[in-house]
Each structure stands twice: as C-alpha cells, then as structure tokens.
Symmetry: C2
Subunit: 371 residues, 2 copies
C-alpha cells in the first residue's frame, strides 16, 4: 500500500473510528484500524467484539493511491499522530513491519499489526429496507434511551426495542419502573421487532453527518446495519423476549393536570436537592383543590421543601403520589412541548406524561410507594 492523502480528511474519520475500537481486549488486533486502499477509495474499519464501524473515503481530488493494499495499525497512536500532522501525508507500507507516514520534514513509522488476523465482518443478507432522516432518529433515541435499565439483571431491558410496522417505527425503553415510547414516521415495509443495544444507539448519536442525511437500516436476526453517507455501523442485537408493554399503558384516568413543563421541571429539580446522598429521589406531588399542585420533599439530614404551582386540573383531587424525582426530571426533559398533560389514577398507579399536541411521544412512571 502506498498513498497520498490530505491529512484532515483521514484524521476526522480515524478519530470517529477510534472511539469504537477495543482498547483492552483479549484480541489485540481489535485495537487496530484496518486501512484498505483500492479502486480509488480508502476504506477504514474499526471495532470491538460487539460493533464495527466502516468509513469509505473517496480519494479523488484529495490525493492519490500509488499502490493498492491494506494494513492494520493501532487506532490510538494513528489517531494521535494524524491529529498533529500538517498538510498532505504519505502512507507507505513498503517495509514489512511498519507503515511509514511522511509529511515534509517529518518521518514517522508506526508498527503494523497482522492484517490477516483482522476479523472478517459477518456476511449480511438483508437489504436496507428502512429509511428516515438521521435527525429524526437521533431525536427519538434521545427521547427513549435514558429510560433503559442500567442493571444487567434483565439484559433485554438494557436496549431500546425497535418495532417496525408499515410506514412507522416505534421505539420503547423501560427499566420496569418507568417507560418511554416514541413513534416515528419512516419508510418501512415489514413488521418486525428487534432490541438495539445502548452502545449502538450512543454511536448513532455520535455520528457527525447533517441531520437531514438519510439513514438506512437493515437487520437480520442477530445483527443491525446502519448506513449514513459514507459511514456504516454494524452491531449485534440483544436477544431475548421484550415484554409486551401495550398492556401496561392505561387508557383511562381519574385526574388530568395541565402543567408548564419548564416550571414543573425547575420545581422537581429543587425538590431533588433534598434527596441528598440517598439512592432514591422521593418527591411527593399532591393534587390540591383549586387548581394547584404541591411539590414536597423532606430529608431529616438536609431539611425540607414545599412548593405550590398553579395548574389546570380535571377530575379527582386531594390525593398525593410519591415518584422518583430523577425519573420525573428525565421525562420532563424528554418532552419538547411547553404545555404537557400529566394523567393520574390515584396514589398507587403509574402516571402518564405527554403533550396533547404530540401523541407520538408518551412516558409512564410508576409510584415509589403509597403515602
């Protein structure tokens, strides 16, 4: 391999890939980035045992491929070096055990890993049959990902469920105590359900292409492939039976409260201060007579807070419910609209949060305990 390329183009790609590459793995080759030069393009591949990323860089106008070929070098060192290189660089694999990287009066040699040991990516039969914009998918991921389970006791709950239906995609995340569900209009033809792991979704959030870029998704039983412009992400899926959440979401409520999202968020954030170092952030909400809601939190260690907010209430009042304030904060931050509706079924039943103007997004939070 021997090629000349503008350092800045390769540098950006290597920096993205390096984040996916294994740093401490029993398979040393996974700490490397595979550089392949052929047919007028450089293909860069990096990954770990669960996920791979591939970037195609067309070389035309940015440089020249003098000799085709492929090498693997340690991602970390290649990344650090390219970040600090000026101008055009030449990558030359004429020596057996190193790659010579040159720019002007600077000559460096990076040790090569054994290219023949680099894993062959799994064959993937399925075609890219789901399309949407990157911006829409990122938004939907941000609105659900926070609600996945942080515990490994039920692995399937550590991912976000993607349910593909004709013309739409429903994302669901739950840790058994709260749930977030988002519906997206997409180009999709088939009915299927998969569970995408959190690290893959975080990687999608990291993709630096424009929000208007089209993202294409393909999947089979075990794998998902995501393609945006010149970047392809390949990840394993989480296996297992995702709980049927439709039965969990109530359709009828005894009370309905319209609140200003930002004002309630500020109040709950204040109340959470009084949870101090305790694991849970018990915040009590009381629906008072006369269109007001009372937010209370009490700690023997710190003190207490009591705050009234004017709201619009329909249905029963004069009951209170204790929720984990942290869940409530994350739910309120997930909603984009300013006026939201909270729906109650008494002090022992989950509440549902949504915006009347946007039925595509819904959140549910179970009470901590009765008061």
């Amino acid at each position: 391999m021997n090629l000349i390329v503008d350092h800045s183009i390769v540098s950006t790609a290597v920096s993205d890939l390096q984040k996916v590459c294994a740093t401490k793995s029993v398979i040393p080759i996974l700490s490397g980035i595979k550089i392949e030069a052929e047919k007028g393009a450089i293909k860069l591949t990096g990954g770990n045992s669960e996920m791979f990323m591939e970037k195609m860089i067309p070389i035309e106008g940015n440089g020249e491929i003098i000799e085709e070929g492929s090498v693997v070098v340690v991602a970390k060192y290649l990344n650090e070096l390219l970040k600090k290189f000026p101008g055009k660089i030449q990558l030359n694999a004429s020596e057996k055990s190193t790659v010579i990287i040159k720019s002007g009066d600077i000559t460096t040699k990076l040790n090569r890993l054994h290219v023949e040991q680099y894993p062959k990516l799994p064959a993937f039969q399925s075609s890219y049959n789901v399309k949407m914009t990157l911006g829409d998918l990122k938004e939907a991921i941000k609105q659900t990902l926070f609600a996945v389970s942080k515990s490994d006791s039920k692995p399937v709950l550590t991912g976000v469920q993607f349910v593909f239906q004709k013309g739409k995609l429903i994302l669901t995340a739950t840790d058994s105590n709260r749930l977030s569900r988002k519906m997206l209009q997409v180009h999709s033809e088939h009915m299927e359900s998969i569970v995408v792991p959190d690290y893959c979704l975080n990687e999608i959030l990291n993709i630096k292409e424009a929000d208007a870029s089209v993202i294409e998704i393909a999947h089979d039983r075990n794998l998902i492939a995501i393609k945006v412009n010149n970047t392809t992400l390949l990840s394993v899926l989480i296996e297992g039976h995702y709980p049927d959440i439709r039965a969990l979401i109530p359709n009828e409520f005894i009370s309905r409260v319209k609140v200003n999202r930002k004002k309630l968020l500020a109040g709950v954030e204040r109340a959470c201060i009084f949870s101090g170092s305790s694991k849970h952030n018990d915040v009590n909400l009381r629906l008072c007579d006369g269109d007001s809601i009372k937010i209370t939190s009490i700690s023997t260690e710190i003190g207490m807070i009591e705050e009234y907010q004017k709201v619009h209430t329909e249905g029963e009042t004069n009951f209170s419910i204790t929720l984990d304030g942290r869940y409530l904060i994350e739910a309120l931050k997930g909603i984009k609209e300013e006026e939201i509706t909270m729906q109650f079924n008494g002090n022992m039943k989950p509440i549902v949060l949504k915006s009347e103007n946007n039925p595509s997004y819904l959140q549910l939070i179970s009470p901590r305990r009765a008061h």
Copy 2:
C-alpha cells in the same frame, strides 16, 4: 437573622465559597458556610483546615437586613438550592434548628449547624503591603505553578516560592528536574521569602474579578492573606527551607538556538506520542550542522518519529540531548513570545529557555540521560 436579598448575588458568592469548603472532614462544621448579617452587609465564610475564603456582600439596593445575626448551613445544599431559586429570597433564622429560605410560593428549610462551633479565623497582625493587578499575578502563577513537585517527598517543593524585594516579586517553582522563574514589577517595600501552597494558588486562579482589579497581599510567618475587591483568601504557608536556585542557573552556554515556539511545540507533541504508556517522554534533540534541529523519539512498542526543523544556531553543534518531552511542552506553553532562545551546555547539562524580548521569565530543564 432575617434578611431579604437578590438570590443571584448570594448564589454566585456561595458557589465560589463552596469549592473551598471541606467536603469530607473530621470537623463537620467545616462543611458549612457561615452567613453573618450585620451593619448593612452579609459576610460569607467558608473553608477547610488549610484555607479560608471570605466574601462581603453590601446589601444596599439588593435587599434588606431585617434582623442581624449569624448561622451556618451545609455549603453543598445551600449552593444547589440557591442556583435553582428565582428572584428575591428571604433567609429567616427564627426557628431554632433550621433556616427558612422563601421565595414566592416556594418554602424550604435547611438544617443549621452549630454556629458557635465555627472556627475563629487566626488573628493576623501584618498589613497588606504588596500590591499588583490580579491579571499579572494570575499570569505569573500560570507560568510557574505547573513546575512544582507532584511528589510529597520534599513538601517545600510542592509550593511556589514568592521572594518579595523592593519593587519586585520573584516566583520560582521546581521539582528538581526542571525550574520555572518569573519576575513581576509590584508595589512592595520589604525583603522576604515565603512558599505558597498549590491549592492557594489554584484558588487565586479561580477568582472571577476583572484582571485589572488590584490584589493586595499580606503575610506573616505562617499565613498569607490575599484581598481582591470584596473577596479575602487566607491560607497557611508551606514551612521549610526552599533551595537556593540562583546557583543552579548557568550564565554561560556553548550553544544558543533561536526557534519558533509554536513549531517546536508541535514537533515535541508529535514526538511525545511515541512515549506511549511509558512514564517518561524521552525526546531527543540534536543540534545539526547547517542550522537545523532534529527531534527524535523511538518506541519498540509503537514505532518512531524523526523530524527536522530549520533554526538559527550559534556555537557548538553535532551533539544531542534527551529531555522529558512533557517538561518541554509545558515550558514552551508557558512562554508567550513566538521567538524563543534555547541555550545548551552539551548533552549532560540543563538547557535554559527564554525569550530575548522578555528577560523576566526563564525556564530550565535537566536532561534525562546522556545519549
């Protein structure tokens, strides 16, 4: 105590003080901020066993002191709460064990600590007899602090030496392998030498007043007091004999090289990548014939780098010296001027870096070992 004040003014001050307050101390009262309301001002005090900070907030125009008095509340909770409070707040200590903090429909109570247990700050006889601008002192601290010893084996070297002379102040920091020295024009009358601990200097760097603000310094044998506008910082000094560094700085050199600071910095940063995970960053500099310098770093694990830079050389050439690249990077970042002079006495003697245009700042780095 009972007072009304604009939350934003107290909030900023509490946020600054909280950083100084002890978080985990055997003396629980040190986790608190003392609030004293008297004579038209609020005085806030916070600290740990080595350092205290005091802020005076004149209340006129921002609120009202209804009843004088003093309380102590936990800094962390007060800070978090004030950050999330809107508008004017009322602090009322009418209850025995709490402070009631109110704003509109929000009522909170913070538990009080025992105000009578708050330590009395040490009596301080000396007057403020050194004056300079905050900006000048901050700059001088930034140019020296990085060179202090990170090891506790010689405690006196973990601080920066301040030598006061008539009309000037000399700051020196060294960890025995490198040294940084900065001279400042100040208003000062007396001859004295003290060693200021790193945490106190970091706190000065954190002071958010304008660079043009006048900073006043007073000290006695054990303590230093620093005053800028309404903020006073009181810190212990490091005791012990600071080494006489004048003998260490050579006056004569066998070679002198003029280099571009940014270009050399970029070269040394590239070379340091090849130190990988090793503790030292061995970088070799060779003074070549024909006005060039060669920067080399070799690692069996990673690879190697070799870079030539055009320079202007006077004196002997054809020798090389190995330095810790990290020291060289920090030294080059400390200098503000773009053209710098490196002075050499062969491969086994320290090098001296300075700018010809600014004799007030000098750095010295000892070689790692002979090559």
